[in-house]
Structures are given as structure tokens and as C-alpha cells.
């Protein structure tokens, strides 16, 4: 068997050479680095899980309201009902999607939520934008618009305009933006 190295020839089999010790230290260092980086990666993933749980909770809240409205039960907040509410100038107006959304997110526990991935950012937003760091960690609700083209059908999801009334059922989708502002779909809701 060829033994072609200086260290191998010079060192005794029972003792570690300096090279061996450096190698072992390198292994330990790399292990520590990987543990450090890995801990950060996994904690990032766990934070994203927290955002997901919140988005799911918000989706469940809207589904709960939708179910009550369908059953004709009393709804709180009243901005999410089909009944007329007091407008800004005192007149009676039909509530819109943005009224309902603001009312829901303005109530507890949703009003207390801060952006988990980046506390400087808003908690809720209209859309994810990869070029905009301000959209990291946003929880978004998009409006679904069915389309039909050349024999195929689908649903296009985009930002709510705001003044949509709640007279007709609205198709929505709860999503969130991850650390790189990529869209992660959570759940579709009918409201």
C-alpha cells in the first residue's frame, strides 16, 4: 500500500499530528457554523409557520362570518353583513369589502398582530412584490375573478378594489409573503 505523504511517514500511528488536530478543529468549526446557520434557517422556517397559522386564523374568521351570513344569523362586525350601515356622512350605505376587512382586522386578536418576519412592515397588505422589502411577511387577501378563454377556465387573483359590496358571494384567497416576498397561498375562501 502506498503511503505517500510527509505527515503519514513522519507521524506515529498512535499519535495525532498537527495536521490531524487542525483537521479535527476544522470539522468542529464547520459543524458549529452549520449548526449556527441551520438554527437561523430553521427559526426562519418556524417564523414563517407562525405567519401561516395567523393567515389560517384570519381565513377561518372570514369563513365563520360567511357561514353566519349564509345562515341569516347576527354578524359582528356589522360591516360584514348585508344590512345597511351608517356612512361617513350619516346616510345609510351598504357595507363594502374594505369596510368589512378593516373591521375584522381592527378587532382583537388581529389588531394586535405585528409583522413576524419584519416588525417594521405592515401586517396586512394588498400584494407581494419581490422588489419591495416592505412586503415581507404580509398577510394578504386577494379577490378571485373567474376567466374563460379558448375553452379553458380558471381564476385570476388580484388585489381587492375596495368598494365591492357584499351582496354577492366574493371569492377570495388568503396568502402571505415570505422572507423574499414570494407569495405563499394559504387557503381559498368564499365570502
Amino acid at each position: 500500500m502506498w503511503r505517500g505523504s510527509l505527515a503519514a511517514k513522519s507521524s506515529s500511528p498512535s499519535r495525532l499530528s498537527i495536521g490531524d488536530i487542525i483537521f479535527i478543529l476544522t470539522l468542529i468549526t464547520v459543524t458549529l457554523v452549520v449548526i449556527g446557520v441551520g438554527t437561523r434557517t430553521v427559526s426562519n422556517a418556524l417564523e414563517l409557520e407562525d405567519v401561516k397559522r395567523r393567515a389560517e386564523q384570519l381565513a377561518s374568521r372570514f369563513e365563520e362570518i360567511a357561514a353566519k351570513r349564509k345562515a341569516g344569523e347576527e354578524i359582528t362586525p356589522e360591516q360584514c353583513s348585508n344590512k345597511e350601515i351608517d356612512g361617513p356622512d350619516g346616510t345609510k350605505v351598504l357595507p363594502t369589502w374594505s369596510d368589512c376587512f378593516n373591521a375584522v382586522t381592527g378587532a382583537e386578536p388581529f389588531s394586535e398582530w405585528k409583522n413576524i418576519l419584519n416588525p417594521d412592515n405592515d401586517t396586512y397588505g394588498p400584494a407581494c412584490d419581490r422588489t419591495d422589502e416592505k412586503t415581507q411577511g404580509l398577510i394578504i387577501i386577494e379577490k378571485g375573478t373567474p376567466w374563460f378563454s379558448a375553452g379553458s377556465t380558471g381564476t385570476y387573483y388580484g388585489a381587492f378594489d375596495g368598494p365591492e359590496t357584499l351582496q354577492k358571494e366574493i371569492l377570495g384567497r388568503v396568502s402571505l409573503c415570505d422572507r423574499w416576498s414570494n407569495l405563499i397561498r394559504v387557503r381559498e375562501i368564499k365570502f
Partner: protein, 599 residues
Amino acid sequence: MKWFAALRAFFLKARKFVFNRLLDAHDPTNLHTKFENFVATLILLNFASMLVEHIPEIYEPYSFWFRTFDHISLTVFSAEYLLRLYVAPEDPEFNTSRFPRLKYVFSLYALIDLSAILPFYLSAFIDMDLRLLRILRLLRLFKLFRVLIPAYKDFMYINADRTFRQKIHALVWPSERGGKLHEFFDLFIVLWVVISVLGVIFESVESIHYLLNVEFAFLDVVAVWVFTLEYLMRFYSCVEDPEFQGRFKGTFKFTTSPNAVIDFLAIIPFFLEAFLHHLFDLRFLRIFRMMRLLKLTRFTDATQMMILVLRREWPVMAASIFVMMLVVVMTASLGYLFEHDAQPDKFENIPQSIYWAVITLTSVGYGDISPVTPLGRIITIGISIMGIAIVAIPAGILSAAFTDQLRIERETLRNELIEMLADGTIDETERAFIEQEAKRLHIQPDEIDRLMLEAQKDRATQEHQDQSVVGFDLKSLSQNPELALNQFRILVTQLDQVFAVVDQKSVDMRMQAEGYATVLERSIWYMMLSNRALYQQQTMPPAPAPEPAVPMESPKASQASDVVNENVPDEPAKPAPRPRKPRAKKPTKADDTDGSPSA
């Protein structure tokens, strides 16, 4: 009581049989290795099942199957424990004790085995938390020590006289000193490559990624850790490999080798993304994690063979590719010529037409660009038919070359088998080599047996031919007296020819010297000498050389004697043809002198 004794004898026999067939680690021919592999596989499956179980989305719909699998595993492990306990008196490790079973129960492996099954049985009596039970099930992993510890001990024994770096080399690089532990190391790396690549694939499925985001992140971290340590170990110990001699030169050669580059690319995206994510968006590097799949090329010769075949067939391939390119460009030009006016948006320029030509020639035919003019369609018909042949050429060449390469390698193995059979037996080293080659060439054991039979036949034929050339096919001679007589005549003739051409006086002097000839050789020499003189006087005194009795069955001997007869009067005769395997000659100075006596 007689039946009791018979029953006891039967059970003792059965116990011995079970131990010898299933649990005796010292017998390489029994089922022990297969049994150990089965248990190890079951342990790994248990571990995988345990990991998956904590995901409610997967566990809840299939909880019945998970539980069933757990019960089956537990039954197998319990049966294994009881079996080992039962046959402990047969085990040399325990049978020296007065209470072999008791000694077994308190042995390390038995305690590990017990810890793997005990929590389940305890849970029947004690109200245990399901999560705790799951954690305790992790103890089953320790059962792997049953195969790992002996492999480690074996490895340390083989490498006892070696340095730390040489040990690392033996562990990570294929060598004679690697033993079973090296095989486990390779298996471990392969397993992680497969897990990691599966992770990357499933991560791209949105619904799965949504559920297992944390698990994928954790998996990637562990995979990177494993591969980084592997890379460093290879990097550190590469200089011990004959391929990478020299500290700096060897290390440089290693780091630039394809396998090392693949290993490096498999881990570097993780570190780049971790340290430079605030400067650049490096998520595109994640796709390089698929490079980990290429790590498997280290463990197979398929890539090497492909490179070899491509290199060998490159001239033909290049010619074929050249023709293909020519046809593509010509077709695209024609397509552009005939279709541009009719469809300026589709056949806008020649490069765009090249796309159409390639899609048509390769019979893919997406249909996004198609000819509408009559001439364009005629051209398309022509090139579509031509394309089948042109594109099939390189495929055919490659396919034939692969088959050819496999045939060559199998032929080489066959020749090596013939060489190995020269001594009539296959020793352990040769057997190991055959197994390794069979694995490399993907040859099944029955095919190896067939090759071995063929090699034996070839060897026998070859030996028979050798013997025929020498003229000493003893088996044939012993069975055929007529042939034996003829053979004897040939030999006498050859001896006679020797007498005719040699300087009898010089040879005679050597014959008398000590150590030049055996008693038998000396007797024959003098007998021939005296008899030949008498023979010459009586029968053919004037002849320059004796007329040999040439048998009909020996044309070679006849030719040789003719040559001698023709040459004797004028010049020294050529020697008779030498046998391929001559007897060991005694050293004589006369061999390299002019024939004068040296004594």
C-alpha cells in the same frame, strides 16, 4: 422418559441449526448477513415512519397503517430478542458461562435490543404520553450498533498500524483497508443523497412544501452538514490515495477533479445563501442542490463507461452531428425561403426557422410553427422522413457502442477467469475480484457461473492444445498404445537427430562431469551412443545422417527430420522445435559458449 430425551435432543438440534443458519456471525455462507440487513432496514423504516408520524396531515388519514407497521416491527424485534435468548447457549460468546442466557441478557447488545421493545410493553401497564413513547421508539436506532460496532472493531484492527489520516482515507475512499465500515459509510452517503434529492423534488410541490416547510429546512441543514464533513474528509485524506500523490499537487488535483467539484457544488449554495443573502438574491442557487444527485456517479461506473464510449465514438459522432447541423441549417433556410412571405411572424428569420427545422427533424412537432405554402409543405414532408434517419444515427451509434463496450468488458472478465483458472482453483482474492467485477458490470451470479464454466472449458481446450503441440498428451497416450508407440518413435527420431548434429565428444565430456546430467540421462546417452554406432555399422554405414523412422501421424517430426537430413552434410542442423513448457534446464556454461568443454 425416552420420548422426553428424544424431544430434548430434537430441540437441541433445532437450536444449533437456528444458530448456525441465522445468527452465527463467523460463518460467511449462512443467512446471518441477510438477517442483519433485514433488521437494519426495518430499523431505518421505523425511523422514517417515526419522522412522518408527527405530521398530522399525513398521519391522521393513514394512522391505521402506521400502527400496523409499528406492531409488525415490534413483533419482529421481540421475536429476534427471544430467538437470540433461546440460542445463547450455542453462542461461543456466552456458552463458556454457567448461565449463558443470563450472561446474554446483561450483554450490551441484549440491553439495546430490550430497550427497543420494552417501552411498548410498558405502555400497556403504565399510562404513557404518546409523544414520550415516540421518543422512546428512537431507542430502536441503537439496534444498528449491532452491525456498526463489529464493523468499527474490524476497521480498527485492519488499520491498527496506520496514522489518523490513513484511517480517514480508508474510511472514505475505496481501498483494501476499508472493510465493512467503508461500505456503511458509502451507504450512508448514498442514503443522504437520495433523501436530500427527494427533499428538493418534493419541496417544489407547493402543497407539500406548505406542510413540511420546517422539515425541509431541517433536512437541508443536516444534509449539508453530512456532505460538508464528507468533503473535508476526502479533501484531507486525498493525499493518501495513489491517484493524488503529493501534498499540494495531489490536493490541487483532487479539488479540480470532477467528483470533488460536484461535492463542492452540492454544499456551496447553502453557505453562499446563508452569508450573502443580504447582498444578493441567491435563491436560484438552490437548484444546484440537485447536483447532489451527481454525487452518486462516484458509486457507479455507468458515467465512466458513458464517457469512455463517447470518447471512443467521438469521430463518428462528430461526423453525424456535422451532417445533422448541415441538414438543419439547409432545411431552415428553405423553410425561410418558402414561408417567410406567407408567415412573416413565424418564419421571421433563419434562426427562428432553425427552431422549426429542429422540432420537425427530431419528430417532436409541437405545431406552434408549421408551413402553409405548398412548397413549404413538400419540403416538410421530405425533411420529416429524412429526419427520422438522421436523428437516429447518433442514437444508433451510441447504443451500439455501449453494447460493444459491455461485450469487451465481459470478454476481458472471461479472459481473466481463464487466467485465474491456470492453477485450477479460485482463491479468496480472485473470488473477491470476480464479485467486484460482476457488480461493476451488473452481471448476475448465474451468468458468472456460466462464464466460469465457459472459462473452464476454454482453459481445458487450451491445455489440450498446448499438450498436443508438445506431444505429451499423457492421458491420450495412456489410453492408446498405438499412439504411444508412435510418440516413442518420434522421440527416438529426435534423439537420433540430436546425435547426428552434436559434437559427441564435447557432450560426452560434459556428461562425465559432476552435476551436468542425471544418472538416467547419462545411461540413455551412453546406450544411444553405443547402439547408434552399431546401428550405423550394420545398416547404413555410408549415409551422412541416419534415416529416421517417420510415423505417418507426425508431419512435424517428418518435416524436422527432412530438414536435418538435408542439412547435415554441409552445415549444422537447425534444432528441433522447442516445446512451449520445457523442463527446467540445468545451468551449463556451454549454453552461452562455443561448445568447448568448460571443465
